[in-house]
Symmetry: C2
Subunit: 440 residues, 2 copies
Amino acid sequence: MSQTYIDQLKGHIGESVTLKGWLYNKRSSGKLVFLQLRDGTGIVQCVVFKPNNEELFETANSLGQESSIIVTGTVKEDTRSSIGVELDVTGLEVLQNVHDYPITPKEHGTEFLMDHRHLWIRSKKQHAVLKVRHTVIKAVRDYFDNNGFTLADTPIFTPAACEGTTTLFEVDYFDDEKAYLTQSGQLYNEATAAAFGKSYAFGPTFRAEKSKTRRHLTEFWMVEPEVAYASYEDMMDLGEGLILSIVERVLSDRQEELKTLERDISKLEAISGPFPRLHYDDAVKMLQEGYDSSTNLSLLDKRFEWGGDFGAPDETYLSNQFGKPVFVHHFPTAIKGFYFEVDKDRPECALGIDLLAPEGYGEIIGGGERAASLDYLIEQLKAHDLPQETFEWYLDLRRYGSVPHAGFGMGIERTVAWMCGIEHVRETIPFPRMLYRLRP
Amino acid sequence: MSQTYIDQLKGHIGESVTLKGWLYNKRSSGKLVFLQLRDGTGIVQCVVFKPNNEELFETANSLGQESSIIVTGTVKEDTRSSIGVELDVTGLEVLQNVHDYPITPKEHGTEFLMDHRHLWIRSKKQHAVLKVRHTVIKAVRDYFDNNGFTLADTPIFTPAACEGTTTLFEVDYFDDEKAYLTQSGQLYNEATAAAFGKSYAFGPTFRAEKSKTRRHLTEFWMVEPEVAYASYEDMMDLGEGLILSIVERVLSDRQEELKTLERDISKLEAISGPFPRLHYDDAVKMLQEGYDSSTNLSLLDKRFEWGGDFGAPDETYLSNQFGKPVFVHHFPTAIKGFYFEVDKDRPECALGIDLLAPEGYGEIIGGGERAASLDYLIEQLKAHDLPQETFEWYLDLRRYGSVPHAGFGMGIERTVAWMCGIEHVRETIPFPRMLYRLRP
């Protein structure tokens, strides 16, 4: 008994097929039972007509939500259906008749749904979000693979941290040695970029932050390209191309899902290049003018001063000025990592870039040009109170064929949240991990 | 000064181009210096002729291995070159002249090379292995993406273990809670397969084994498909298709790299379907006959008895009988995980499958059909001394729409080692992690 998938039904009109799946919803009306069957690729309405087969009708009528069933029937064109077809049921095999499925069409609290994440992902909206995630990841990988990048995944176990150990998860390695879970593959990417010219890493990264915001997970996925002989400006070109290709792919491949999510797709359709590129100086001015000139800007609750790092309200304010993603570059050196290249004429400015997503989704790309000079980096390690010994291998990259190079990281979950237009990143990953969430 | 990449040079014959890279090797002969320039996409010979420009000649002649240089010149067809072209140098900019690069063309010990992994990956052979890895991963993802699978990555942090905690890495989560690093996403995949029909996870997995063999890493990448309404036989079909598509892709896209690795590609070209499918009973017989009938089988040092698990020599012996990958199925229930479905007529046999790679590369696929019955699983948890409470969410998958389903895991590093024909998996990942190897 071979299986036909629901997303293939349109090619089988008039044929008898067998569908295998679960009962998503059911309604009866006199002599008819309408079974909404889901099989992971879609949902189709299966119609059981009592006079045709009374026993089958009774069976269908007895089914509870999420019962596992195998349905045979004839595919009929149906223009009212969003998938263009429905099924006239001729046979029904019940594997399990379920009567106490915990997630009902009524409203449930978030904690309850998160506790039942293993079941919640069957729901239409969660299903849609994760299909968008699949497409975002596919678009990202295709973009780099088609642009001459070599995938070179960096280790999860690292002996040292980029920037202190306070937000690192510690692991007992062997023989009392400690390992830390990676926060970023960047330092390693710098090594692979020197081997492959253009490389990227794409895997889970970890941050042991005790913050509970809608933008934070303890375990999240990040793609990190790195390019030898490249500048921070090249990274803005690369990041812009990446974002445009993601938006285009999601709009073309996930229309149905965006509809399910009630996403205002005009907001995504409006995304086009070139993205504005704002010097940090100008971003500061814009924030200050915003604060000074208006009394109804509840967003900005104090005057932003040069030298500060953007908070979420600042990011939202800036991106709201443009309605499309905006790059900010030349951040104060003092607030950036030890490895940033600085502007030769203004060493207080680092050649860092951030990309702020529109609609309040905040920073989704962060990166820039890396310092190429051995002496400068040794100085910086000292200034940041980092042990040089741990970074000797990294310093080797400046001893042996140092070149200008640049890269960035893009967070997958924030990007998916933006594409879907949903509030919290916890729904953008199959099994989110947060401060108080390690289960299921 | 825009950059041309070496793998694009053939399209620029007769033109003047600028290459940016590193000096891979150099030789001089009278009035000529031959610079082997690498840029991550290939290596090209750049020729400097003294009478053309004496200063440029002196500069070129002074360069040490891995110096970072920008070379301008005219692309000339050269049939002796493996890439079909060489460069007549007209300009040379030296970013860094390196004179003490630690990895010289002479032989180095493995520990030394592993300590310098961040530089070693620039070497021709290591570069080739990692390009094959890139292609294997691309082939894997394309295979699942093109066959209706949804990528649904499973969490790295897990509250519990599949099979005991002895080989698990423990992490301090928050507030004295312990988390464990995933050994397999399988249990979670079973949840996503019920949501998507066909799902796969692809990420790093961890095993805290104190073993130091050529097949083990503490951190390795695994792809794990899971399919609802599927049997262990379907998994053999799926796995066979996967392997065939990997082999085909590597042969078509990585010819140059396989040549560099001196891979006997006839061994890969010989891989074709269908793969033999051996009942465990028959595999045991084959091993016993092998042991009984011959005195020169140094491989099998004792008679294999029904009920045992295959060791590396057994796997090698079995796969040697076929010269292509071979599936073994129906393993003894007693040596398999708690979650395996069993043969209804012979409950001592589990519906597990392994795929043994040829040439001694051992098990590269392991999986099978999962138990669908709630009662049986509860029994099994008890029998395996596992706390039911921790697995309640997993049991929910049998409470709410249980269906027959199956899946498997394929280890990336072993597959890459097999494709490359190399001895040790440590070279198949950019930065390997092993018992005594956490650096660089």
